[in-house]
Symmetry: C5
């Protein structure tokens, strides 16, 4: 019996604030990371990257109309940080609440003077556990604020393109930059799905060559991960659609063409997730039928051997009985007691009868197709 595989419980249990707090209450989880703030100031010609220690006076640092700004905030553990947003930047407190409670679905909302969006960043961590983090975006005319829970992410490629000035990335303003980051996050879903797809191929090979319980468990695990991903991809698609249909002048028509592309990717992802889920289910069904088949084979072996030998053993048992031809005490002779034992060829005839019975049974099972 192979030892049971443990599902990897890497679930992040969100530390919820006490129920009953005021709506819009900024809840800071004491165990979360301290913020690292980076300010990217860029125009088509130039780019400047500065680490900030505080957001105080950020409005002044981002007022040059020739530049666009990206304020990247990694780690949310700072009350003072959110006070700046609330007081200086006049961000709605429900928005700030959404940023700090990092279990929201992807969404896009327009506010007076800025847009707010949430993406979910998926990554396969060690042990192939699915890590699922929230990235929040506040986009104003010339500043994009991003918030993420951890210091590591999958966005370095965008940072490099920004620094090197490749493609549209410095031309499109904050709208295009936000798109580029979101697109990067969605692209990462494809890598995750590809990994799972390879896992499933490998599981399928094992299913057909040497199916055991672990195949079942791991297929269930992939299926469960697909359920999680579906919960992310569906609202992601809706989010992209909301951005497409917005009238906000913060999102240009050119950027919307790219958003349309990202929307198509989401639809593609949904297709893939649904198909993979169906295939996982069908593999589980197949596993169950393999188990049933195997049971049939086991039972056939038992039945063939038992059915052949039990009657023969019975016959042997008959002639192992001790009915006496002669009473040992009185010497009375009882000729009807087991006369076969005293025939010259009784033993040989008995063996022949046994062989015949076995043969009949073997033929019977053969014709039933049990030897195949």
């Amino acid at each position: 019996m192979s030892k049971p595989i443990r599902f990897k419980h890497k679930k992040k249990r969100y530390v919820l604030p006490e129920p009953g707090t005021t709506p819009g209450f900024i809840y800071i989880d004491g165990n979360s990371l301290k913020p690292k703030i980076t300010l990217y100031s860029f125009s088509t010609e130039a780019i400047d990257v500065v680490q900030l220690t505080s957001l105080r006076d950020i409005a002044n640092k981002t007022k040059d109309k020739d530049f666009s700004y990206w304020v990247e905030i990694k780690g949310l553990n700072s009350v003072e940080l959110f006070n700046v947003f609330s007081e200086e930047l006049k961000i709605h407190k429900l928005v700030l609440e959404d940023i700090t409670r990092t279990y929201h679905r992807p969404k896009f909302e327009e506010y007076d003077g800025y847009n707010f969006a949430i993406s979910r960043m998926l990554r396969l961590g060690e042990d192939s556990a699915l890590e699922n983090q929230q990235v929040s975006f506040i986009q104003t005319k010339n500043v994009l604020y991003t918030f993420q829970e951890t210091y590591e992410d999958c966005l370095d490629a965008v940072r490099n393109r920004l620094k090197e000035g490749k493609g549209n990335i410095r031309l499109g303003g904050t709208g295009y930059l936000m798109y580029a980051l979101m697109d990067m996050i969605v692209d990462a879903y494809f890598s995750v799905l590809n990994q799972w797809s390879e896992d499933m191929d490998e599981l399928e090979d094992r299913l057909l060559s040497r199916p055991d319980k672990s195949v079942m468990y791991e297929t269930q695990l992939v299926k469960r991960n697909l359920i999680s991903m579906r919960r992310v991809v569906w609202p992601e698609r809706d989010k992209m659609n909301d951005i497409l249909r917005t009238d906000s002048d913060l999102i240009s028509e050119q950027t919307k063409m790219f958003i349309k592309d990202a929307y198509d990717h989401c639809v593609q992802l949904m297709d893939m997730v649904e198909s993979m889920k169906e295939i996982a289910s069908s593999n589980i069904d197949m596993y169950l039928s393999i188990i049933s088949n195997r049971m049939n084979e086991i039972m056939k072996v038992l039945t063939i051997i038992s059915s052949i030998f039990i009657p023969l053993t019975f016959i042997a048992g008959i002639y192992g009985m001790n009915f006496s031809k002669q009473d040992p005490v009185t010497g009375k002779i009882m000729p009807n007691n087991m006369p076969e034992l005293y025939q010259a060829h009784g033993y040989e005839y008995t063996l022949l009868v046994m062989a015949f019975i076995a043969l009949v049974q073997i033929i019977f099972f053969w014709r039933k197709g049990w030897f195949k």
Copy 2:
């Protein structure tokens, strides 16, 4: 055999009035609680909390335009109470009927001069049974009436905020207060779901380490609870949507922003409920496959042992037969009867043959992979 787990039948069977009563008939269940009435009068600066014994003349007590009022009614067992609503306050009798028949889905309806809404308050009672109560709201310009069946609830946090004047709660009028109560009720759903989620993790651990019937029963129980919760969350979302789209001037635009937030929470809840249901189903499937696997193992043990020993026992049976070499009475010698018994090494050869047969079978089963 472990003893069967009893499903906890804490279902509240509603005492229905006789079919055929007039629509709008106010039905008072004689076993329900007598009403406790509390009047909260609050403005941004002040708050006053009074216990009332009757609602007579409530219109006069709530006529100060500078104040908003919350009339909290706990326990519905009073005909006189509803007469006040019907006669003094001119509330439609279908509304009053809905309040007294406490099995309605969440909904929001606009009437002439007031809004009517129903929420369902879910709580895990003792033994983890799901308690499901109706909270009804009648909201006029400056008075909010709430009705609930029991004295205990999950709304103390809102009462405290109201008394302490935290956040918007005293600024937003009856609309915001109604939202705050509804939001509190929806927040409580998250706690319930979190509890079930932990239960399911624990069940999953048991499923993989020591699966027995109770795992199956309890997973089914969680699944059933999820079905109940889904029946509440879907119409709750629709209700929030109805409030968002209403033109009623009793709900301000600012309040609607908060309602939008509550709407998002409902969508989030639906996501969680559906995922958990899928995971529960997949665990039940897994349990069934574990049962099948276990059956296979049991059968393998039986088949291996039977298949090895039954043929050997047959051989032993053969040489236990009493075919005689010599007739005890006549003394006739029959040399063909079981000559093996009279060979110098017959016994040893026989044991060798048996060992060989056992070995062949063990190899056969080994190669079939049955020892794994």
Copy 3:
């Protein structure tokens, strides 16, 4: 083996007219009941109830503008009856066809000068079989015609309210009366569902205490009944919705508020039906898993007993062989033949070996957890 439960085939097979009859052909089933006609003439002050033998000249009897009229027709077996509708009252012949072919879904249709509606009356008859009858309504400005197949129904409460003048029933005209009857019919669905809900609780108790085949059969039966009810409730909801959205001046706005209430009841019913169906399915799954568990237990008993005793029996068989130490005829001594039999303590050692083997197996099964 308990004897199989018979499903109760109380299905009413509709006697269909020959295919190919003209559309609008009035088909009278010869086995149906002769009509009993009652005319209720009522105003807010007065009510008069008369039995009619024929509908001839009904237009004259119902022409007083101060009165509303309810013509109740129980039993449809009369060609002459339908001729009156067709010729005197100018009712469209497709409407009359729908009335006589009593297998239609609930629906609401507007015609020139009158409305036509169908409800389905559900009742639990003897043996808990579900009886499903059609009630048709033709509503004109001041006359409501109702048609039902049988003399018994669940509408007496409405008749009593009408006679006693309780509530709105005499004020609302034919529209409110039609609503009151429809609402009564929908209310009866709740009683039916309540009965099934109690049946299912009882089945669940049996499932967990003493599951046998009958639990399975009866749960399937409830599930099937729920399928039938769903086929009635969905179109009933659509019908209510059609009435809500109609512009017909035969349905007043006040009545529509009540219809909205009935609509909510239908949604509630649909919720309940779907949940109960899900619970029934989950109970059937549970039954199947109980069967599997039981099989496992049976197999464990067999395997434990067989596995312990078969090897021991084999050992006993070994020492039951008759290999001779001395040839009975020649007297030759063969010391290698079963020397164990001639050891002073051979028997005791053998018993000890057997006990040891049994112990090893018991420990093995114990550690596999098979004794739990």
Copy 4:
């Protein structure tokens, strides 16, 4: 083992033209029937039925404005026929392609000057196989052309009504005639469903009285047929809906009232098909649970008998061993070897012990409820 039932493969494999033919290519299957053409000329007063050998000059034969015409074409094997439609009557070649490729879903399309519709005629042929043929309609102002693949059909009732002038059939022009034919075809679906419903009742009786493999196979067969019918009924409903919503002046408002009736019939059919499918599935589940139950019973018999007798046989085996009290050669006495055999009542005590063991086991099985 009963012999397997063969599914009736009466599937008509459509002989497809080579892929890559021009769209609109008229493909004539050489094995199909030669056309028989009948021209019905009718007005409210008169009707004239003529067999035609060719459609050439059909425009002239159908130009009398006082008459409506029905050109019925049975058998499609004639290139010349379609040339007339293409050249003389200016029918779009995609329409003609749809007519000749007889595997289309029901649909309704408006063209310039004519309407085109497809119905599917279902019939239970011999062996209860479902026959599924295409009937196509081209409706112009005063001529209705119908095309069907075979000479037999279910439309004689309509022909008779037309000849006898019953009902609206001669008044309503080509629109009503087309409706009458379509309605006749839909009516035939009800007969088919009724037949299946009776089959399912009979299968259910067999399922509960003597379930065997054939019940399973035949239920699956019915289910498969229902899947086929669903594929016809859904688009049929959509077709009716398209006709209802058309602005074409070839379909009068009066006719649309009848079409609405046919639409209701389609909805009714869909309801019935879905319910029957659900019931078929539930019967298959029930069959599987019956199989499992039966397996349990079989295993119980085996386990009870084996468990009782295997230990007893072991005891008998013990006392069948040949451990000697006295060495036959040396005469040495070994008093510890099987002293029980030489006790005065050893045999009786042994039998008692055996009976006691059997009794204990019987009680054990009894309390487990295995004898029920």
Copy 5:
């Protein structure tokens, strides 16, 4: 035990560029085929086919207004090719990205001056593996560019029609040509489905005559292929619908009539795919029930033989015991020890008792119906 069938993993794993490349980045897979370019210049009277080695200056070659042009590009491995599209023809770089990443769903998009569309070409390759390639279309006023990954395709029939000038193909401009190619691709889906349909009939025959594991595996394989096809057909239908609803003047109304036909074909395909999936699922269920039935039969054989012979063997065991009538050492006589052995007819009576027991059991099993 038949050897496991391997699923054919012919999945094309797309070589994805590094995540994080600029959106619109043209990724050329180094292993793909070098482009072969063919230019078809055609008018209603003439056609000219030229092989090109480069697309440079293509604008000049396709400027004759009297002609329409088809530029067919097979193989995408050329950066220079896409530079022409990007620079000379001003095609949006997201379009070019979609062309080079050949895993997109079918879609239709309008751009300024041209339309872009994707189809997926399905073919059954060797070993019945499903090959799935992307065909992309760029349609301008008078030039149609098509892109495909491989040199082989299913479009020769269209090329031939074009060369021979059959049907509309030279009259309809680039819009009709694009339709003709798309229609050809959709037509090929029917061939694929037909092949699978035949496979499934054959599998069904095997299922009913000699079901083994391979039937299960191959049915699952077909089901999986159907899932893949469904992923293609659904968006294909949406694409056709998008073309139908476009206002683009590049698609004429006449062409739209043909597109409507192709749309109908897609709906037809979806119907077929869904039905076949349902039938495949139902066959898998049937296979599982056959396995269960077979298990029942195996167990019946085992149980009948064991149950009959085990008790008989026990009786034989009893009389094989060696309880002595006389102590061999002391000569004491013990008359109660197995007196049956010393009866004159003990052996015969014993055999009769055995026969009786066997008979009783046979009757018992017969009445349980186990011999059927």
